[in-house]
């Protein structure tokens, strides 16, 4: 018997299921179909590639389909996002950041990538947009205009792509509420189910920004900038 507490409206509700060695998603489906049809959660592929079932367990972001439940676990929806019902959140806002960040191939050069070229952003293109990183991000929690982790990772994916002919346009676009607003706290890296480090990608974007003559605005006005990264 496994007992878990699920946050519903403003209170936690305890459920018990007679299952062992199962994923959280399997437990949620068991509860939904056998005990309480009103429980709301999202799911899809069950194999960690669709990004639907991101939520928090014991205050840490996980995919329900890849987390093995422990007795006494506390289940909550993602943070920093509007809860629609129970464990379902409205992802529209964080999705719009990809558009605002212009996370796409702006001007394809039509060149062939080498094996090494393709490796550069292989991990970044594993992103499943589950939103765990936005939930964990302390900057996004206070600045809803911050482009945020997965959008900036996606920008880096295209900036670092040798086929991109307009990398500077992309860099220009992530200066405000973008690369310099991150505190490099690394929370996004810790929670990413795909082992992507948005923090590292943001550092790379900063370095690239410096190459294009941008300065860290946090150091603005203090002498001249010599082109070396300020971190």
């Amino acid at each position: 018997m496994i007992n878990i507490n699920i946050k519903r409206e403003n209170e936690f509700v305890e459920y018990g299921v007679d299952l062992e060695d199962v994923t959280l998603l399997e437990v949620l489906i068991e509860i939904k179909t056998k005990q309480d049809v009103s429980l709301a959660f999202s799911s899809g592929c069950r194999s960690s590639v669709c990004g639907s079932c991101s939520m928090r367990v014991n205050e840490r972001e996980v995919l329900a389909c890849s987390y093995k439940v422990q007795d006494g676990d506390t289940i909550e929806p993602l943070k920093n996002v509007e809860v629609i019902r129970d464990l379902v959140t409205d992802m529209d806002a964080s999705y719009t950041f990809n558009a605002r960040a212009k996370a796409w191939l702006q001007e394809g050069l039509g060149i062939s990538l080498t094996q090494d070229d393709a490796k550069i952003n292989e991990v970044q293109s594993d992103c499943i947009l589950c939103g765990s990183c936005y939930s964990a991000c302390p900057v996004y929690s206070v600045n809803k205009d911050f482009l945020g982790p997965f959008a900036l990772t996606r920008v880096w994916k295209y900036v670092s792509d040798k086929r991109e002919g307009e990398p500077k346009t992309k860099i220009d676009n992530v200066q405000l509420n973008g690369v310099w607003d991150c505190t490099l706290c690394n929370e996004c890296t810790i929670v990413c189910p795909q082992n992507i480090s948005s923090k590292t990608d943001i550092e790379k974007l900063r370095f690239k920004s410096a190459q294009y003559g941008y300065m860290d605005p946090n150091f603005g006005g203090f002498g001249s900038f010599d082109g070396s990264p300020s971190f």
Partner: protein
């Protein structure tokens, strides 16, 4: 709420988004609706690759691609459609490369290719084992660039038609608010995915693959064909039905029984291999996939998801242990009949992707041809639907008709549908599965009709208007039931074995 566009696309997987891009490029105003979010659709689960006879790693030709596809289709494919798809494959992969898909590369900087079952050459272009994910996300990024209007968590209820029977839009449930909305359009593209989840847990698919668009199109009068052709993937994880990609065999993986003995050709087409494994299991054997000899480096490089999923769901590490597997429902070849312009039997309704039947897979689809199909025919559906929509002079004038919500409100709600959902899945796996007898099919049809009779006694227990997944799942269940009836009726009409439809 009422929305208007020239073209309405229902479904935001690879097919729907590709269609939307090309419809918009043709000058049409486009709206895309999805019951989930665009990047969460079934396309993201495709792992093995996308076929194109590029000949990058060994000699290959479009003719060979056509020949292999036709052979696997067992005479049930349309040769002209297959020829078109295989010829367009090279453009399709070039297009994907041009918009930024991160394909794996060979040493000479060409796109890498690997062999999948039934292919005479290494033909599948891939991105590790995340081919579908990376293609889908890149097409999605492209949609953002083109400012395609995508509306999330909108669930299709019915198609709308005018007095002359032309499709004029759709009635949709906004899952978040619980309100019914109308989307008017001069052309509708159905890109709503397949129906493998009629097998419930005995399927590799996302829980969303419930054949909604097919059931709704059927209610509107569209013709379906070849619904009995359902592909069982030989290597689903035994307990969870999670897919272990065909690339595991393409790379040299073995299928063995409990004694560690290989008993079949691992690179045979999926229908043959599934039957061989099924027969071995029927003998009381357990069957395993053995990729240990491929080595840790190759497994981490080419099959990282497989390793992760086998550990998670079966508690085995494929680098050191054999993986318990069984064949499970994976892809549905049948669907809404379309012509060479991706138009259905209803004027104004187009279809592409797994819900459509372009007759390119016939009785058995080749691995690597489904990602190809969504890109090639997604484009065709988009172009043709836009052309049609823009040629219509009349303003939309749909006729108001009762929808599924009326039936649901009248439901007595005395019987739990979830237990039936599972029961149908297990019953279909057994009776309308890898091997079928006439008696099994007849008994399955009888049972489906009996369950259908009980529908008025079932219903939605959750009374919330907001995000009522009990309601959505009940409508999905009704769609599953409608599709099941079509599958088994269609199977009964085909008395001779053919590809994935195997009668004994």
């Amino acid at each position: 709420m009422n929305y208007k566009s020239d073209v309405l696309v229902i479904g935001a997987g690879g097919a729907g988004l590709t269609a939307a891009l090309h419809a918009k490029e043709s000058g049409a105003r486009v709206i895309v609706i999805t019951k989930e979010y665009p990047t969460r659709s079934q396309t993201c689960m495709a792992q093995g690759g996308i076929n194109a006879a590029l000949g990058n790693v060994e000699e290959d030709s479009v003719e060979s691609h056509i020949a292999n596809t036709l052979k696997s289709a067992h005479g049930e494919a349309d040769e002209a459609a297959v020829r078109f798809m295989c010829s367009e494959a090279i453009n399709a992969v070039e297009w994907l490369d041009s918009i930024g898909v991160c394909f794996s590369r060979a040493k000479d900087a060409k796109i890498a290719q690997r062999a999948l079952g039934g292919a005479s050459a290494a033909r599948a272009c891939y991105a590790q084992d995340y081919t579908g994910l990376k293609i889908l996300h890149t097409i999605y990024d492209r949609c953002l660039q083109e400012n395609i209007e995508m509306k999330n968590e909108k669930y299709l209820l019915e198609l709308l038609k005018d007095e002359e029977g032309r499709v004029k839009g759709a009635k949709v449930l906004d899952i978040r608010s619980g309100e019914v909305e109308v989307y008017e359009a001069n052309a509708v593209i159905m890109a709503s995915g397949g129906y493998s989840r009629i097998y419930d847990k005995n399927s590799t698919n996302s829980t969303a693959s419930t054949g909604d668009g097919i059931a709704v199109a059927l209610r509107a009068g569209a013709k379906l064909i070849d619904m009995e052709f359902i592909q069982f993937h030989p290597t689903g994880l035994k307990g969870s039905s999670i897919l272990i990609s065909e690339s595991a065999r393409g790379e040299g993986g073995h299928i063995v029984n409990s004694k560690g003995v290989r008993f079949t050709n691992e690179l045979a087409p999926r229908d043959e291999l599934s039957r061989a494994i099924n027969a071995e299991i029927a003998k009381g054997e357990q069957v395993f996939l053995d990729i240990r000899h491929l080595g840790e480096e190759l497994i981490n490089e080419g099959l990282p998801q497989e390793r992760k999923l086998a550990k998670l769901y079966e508690n085995v590490d494929p680098v050191h242990e054999i993986i318990p597997i069984r064949p499970v429902a994976h892809y549905t070849m049948g669907g809404i009949e379309v012509d060479h312009k991706s138009q259905t039997s209803l004027s104004g309704l187009y279809a592409c992707g797994e819900c459509a039947n372009h007759r390119v897979h016939g009785a058995n689809r080749l691995g690597g041809n489904s990602l190809l199909e969504i890109v090639v025919f997604g484009k065709e559906a988009g172009l043709n639907a836009a052309k049609f929509a823009l040629s219509q002079n009349t303003e939309s004038s749909y006729i108001e008709q009762p929808d599924v919500m009326n039936d649901i409100k009248a439901g007595k709600n005395e019987i739990d549908f979830y237990s039936f959902r599972q029961h149908i899945g297990d019953m279909f796996y057994k009776d309308v599965g890898i091997v079928r007898t006439r008696e099994q099919l007849e008994s399955a049809l009888k049972e489906i009709l009996e369950i259908k009779e009980k529908l008025p006694l079932m219903g939605v227990k959750d009374t919330s208007k907001v995000y009522n997944t009990n309601l959505v799942e009940f409508i999905e269940f009704r769609n599953v039931l409608a599709v099941c009836e079509q599958v088994v009726s269609s199977a009964l009409k085909r008395e001779v074995s053919c590809g994935a439809h195997y009668i004994v």
